[in-house]
């Protein structure tokens, strides 16, 4: 499903050059639930961003769903992200000026859908994460766990084949974290969604199919 070949990422600022990723080769199979672990600053988020086409590698090739993505232009990249990928971030990234339901609808806004259809799909997604009773709330009126569930609803509303989650439980207590994990596992099991998840939590990682460890930009396991 996701194929990374010899990925290298260098961040250049005026004074320093950081080698964030070095020679990563990774194959994620369709329907696989993969977790990535490693110490802070080892390049986990960078790797996930590159997989999600949010960032370009300095070197190497990526293909997703059998399509090489290197030659995509901005519009094609946007469309690809919109239809194939769902993102969940550690800090949720909800839009504070929009109600829960509108936040969830956001990816559909960049598709050819009617307002009615958007509403139906968003309501469905919110039901899946157990938040149907909070659709008119604003993000600041929700707890951290609830916010992350909104973010999950937003990631799944477009029915993507791949979900990329960057420490989705990092800001939550273990009970909340387990709940979120259950939702992801369910998505993987029932809908067959391919999931790549960055985590610091060994217990969470244990529940996934495969674990990749990074150290200083290189894959160590």
């Amino acid at each position: 499903m996701i194929k990374l070949q010899n990925i290298q990422k260098v961040y250049r600022t005026d004074t320093i050059e950081t080698l964030a990723l070095n020679g990563i080769n990774l194959d994620v199979a369709k329907g696989e639930f993969l977790s990535i672990m490693g110490p802070s600053g080892c390049g986990k988020s960078t790797l996930l961003n590159i997989m999600g086409l949010l960032d370009e590698p300095s070197k190497g090739n990526i293909s997703i769903a059998e399509q090489p993505t290197g030659k995509f232009n901005d519009k094609q990249l946007a469309k690809f992200r919109n239809q194939k990928l769902g993102f969940i971030f550690q800090s949720y990234h909800l839009i504070g000026d929009l109600q829960v339901i509108d936040n969830v609808e956001l990816p559909l806004l960049y598709r050819d859908t009617t307002a009615k259809e958007r509403r139906r799909l968003a309501t469905e997604a919110l039901e899946k994460v157990g938040l149907s009773n909070r659709i008119k709330h604003f993000p600041k009126q929700l707890s951290g766990g609830q916010r992350q569930r909104v973010a999950i609803a937003r990631a799944i509303v477009g029915n993507p084949e791949i979900i990329l989650a960057d420490e989705p439980t990092g800001n939550l207590d273990s009970a909340m974290g387990n709940e979120i994990m259950e939702i992801l596992l369910q998505l993987n099991r029932v809908d067959g969604t391919t999931i790549v998840m960055v985590t610091h939590d060994e217990n969470m990682a244990q529940k996934t199919h495969r674990l990749v460890r990074l150290f200083d930009g290189s894959q160590v396991q």
Partner: protein, 394 residues
Amino acid sequence: MFKHLFKMIWNKKKQNSLLIVEILLSFLVIFAVFTFGLNSYNNYAKPMGIDYQNVWAISYNNTLKTNNGDSLKLFYDNMVDNIKAMPKVIDAAHTSANIPFSTSHMSTGLTHNGDHIQDVNSFMVDENYPKTLNVKLLDGRWYNKTDVGSKQKVIVINNKLKERMFGKASAIGKLYNDDDGKKGVKIIGVLDDIKFNGDYQSLEYAIYNRIDTSSYRWLGKILVKVSPDANAAFESQLYKFMANNLKDSNIEIEHLTNKLTAYNKFTLVPLIILSIVAAFLIINVALGIFGVLWYNINKRRGEIGLRRAVGAPGSSVSAQLVSEAMILATLSLIVGAFFAVQFPLLNVFDLPASVYLLAMLLAVIFIYLLVLVCSLYPGKQASAILPAVALHEE
């Protein structure tokens, strides 16, 4: 998408209200400038009403000792006849000091059908006045010998006054009462409008009185229409003639073309000052709008990164920001138009409604262009924001 943008704007109404007020104020200022400018242009586009080329104005002061009106009349009529008889002189007319483009004004008021009309310019002129200035008589007749000694006070009015008093109907033979207590002044003629305040000022009401014998004591202007080849030598000849006829009088000869230039300068000064002030205001407003949009976009980098992540192309992000600015402009303009439309409705400055409406339209277009230009660059910057970087910063 439109509904989505509207929701965003509505949910941020507190932050947006500042920008809305700013755009509203600039709209009102620009509306005022355009109204003023358009009105000046409209006035400029209207015909002058007279041929002022080759018309000279002789100023003098009466130095004759006699107080006898009849002998004064005889003297001055004779003098004007002698001027008319000079070579290169086409016509000459005796008038009061308020000749075209002079800063001297005389005004009065009158009552007609219970309608009291103020600020009516009052001129004292003789029979030669229309021919000397080549001003058209639109209706009725000009003064002639039959008016001498007539008991009935007769008057010629200008077209603007006629339209105020009678609209489309004829004014000839109609009566009014003047503010000096004279009842039943009879209108015998309607003279075309003259822009006696220069190119840029509005037309005003006017009545033209026939000079009576008692006025010669204080009259002091003679308008002379000369042929195009009248030169400086002829001007000094005319000067000498006046000086010889009126001992100890201050004689001065001016050209109406020069007087017009001077008067226009005088009336253009406020327009120029207003334009400069407006230009500064517009620059200020443009910078303000630009600044607010710029600030907004930087504050919303996270949101922009997120939209890009969930599938918005760069072009869509910049289109969104520009559209938001345009929606805000529209909200301001709706409020602004409500204020602006009060001016023609309440007829605040006695300007034609068409001037206000056109000024409004131009101001609306101007504001849209201004907001568009000010939002294009920040919008373009926003489209260049890399999603990974923007999300990383949050």
